[in-house]
């Protein structure tokens, strides 16, 4: 299960970039998604195989929020689900004090 902290973080976002690879060529599609504890629902998509979902805000450097989830796309129950294997996500921080954390990581056990 994805950490609750990640699911809450992802709830702020609805739009992501889904990267897949075919014949050695990477491709990106803009997708709508919803993070659930067990999987990430990718809307209007029919695809399977390994994929990497990225979502982010529009900011750079210390104001940036971004997350990356790598896993397996599966069609189940009529919907496309990304079953996460690992994820990381970043927190914005202030330059005026040393941040306790910038990046959080999770890996399926």
């Amino acid at each position: 299960m994805l950490p609750r902290e990640f699911v809450e973080y992802a709830a702020e976002f609805t739009l992501g970039f889904l990267a897949t690879v075919r014949d050695g060529i990477p491709s990106i599609e803009l997708v709508e998604f919803e993070a659930k504890p067990e999987y990430i629902l990718i809307r209007d998509m029919r695809k399977d195989g390994v994929a990497c979902l990225v979502f982010a805000n529009e900011r750079y450097s210390e104001n940036s929020k971004m997350a990356q989830v790598t896993g397996e796309l599966v069609m189940e129950g009529g919907e496309c689900r990304l079953i996460p294997q690992r994820a990381y996500w970043t927190y914005p921080f202030s330059l005026s004090s040393y941040p306790r954390e910038i990046v959080r990581r999770w890996r399926r056990r």
């Binding site: 990477p26 750079y60 990046v103």
Partner: protein
């Protein structure tokens, strides 16, 4: 030739791009970028995307202005033409880096950037080096792509480079 409309987007948009590379599996992250007739990115050294790009020169780049669903944007496919790192590469491409920071973001070059780099480079949760001379400067040759001004109203336009 890159379509004029796309060239305008590449000049005007200031939102980070998402760069996808292919290793044993797909990998994608937001990136600083700049376009001056050539498409440039400058990833930090020691990252998975660098390892991927060393083995496979195919990349895909996507951008959505302000990360807003109605924003202008593009998805481009290309190949790496140049990839350099080290202190000399940093000096040679300092103008590209400065342009990325000033024209494509609100970071700019100044004390704030140094403070950011100092925190980021030494933070225990960061596994790669953010030091300027360990950056890579990567020039990408655009091969084909899609772009849009208002996707809902006008759809996307496609192009292939001759």
């Amino acid at each position: 030739m890159i379509p004029r409309e796309l060239e305008e987007l590449l000049t005007q948009i200031r939102t980070p791009v998402i760069l996808a590379t292919a290793g044993e599996e797909p990998h994608a992250t937001p990136m600083n970028w700049f376009y001056d007739g050539d498409f440039w990115i400058s990833p930090a050294g020691g990252t998975r995307k660098i390892r991927n790009m060393r083995k496979n020169k195919n990349v895909c780049i996507a951008c959505l202005e302000n990360m807003h669903p109605g924003g202008r944007g593009f998805i481009l496919w290309g190949r790496i033409e140049e990839m350099e790192t080290g202190f000399l590469a940093f000096l040679r491409h300092a103008f590209i880096l400065k342009s990325m920071l000033e024209k494509k973001s609100s970071i700019g070059v100044g004390i704030k950037l140094l403070r950011y780099a100092r925190i980021y480079a030494g933070h225990p949760s960061i596994k790669y080096s953010a030091l300027p001379w360990k950056r890579y400067f990567v020039k990408i040759r655009i091969l084909r792509g899609r772009y849009w001004q208002n996707r809902e109203r006008h759809g996307e336009k496609e192009f292939t480079m001759e």
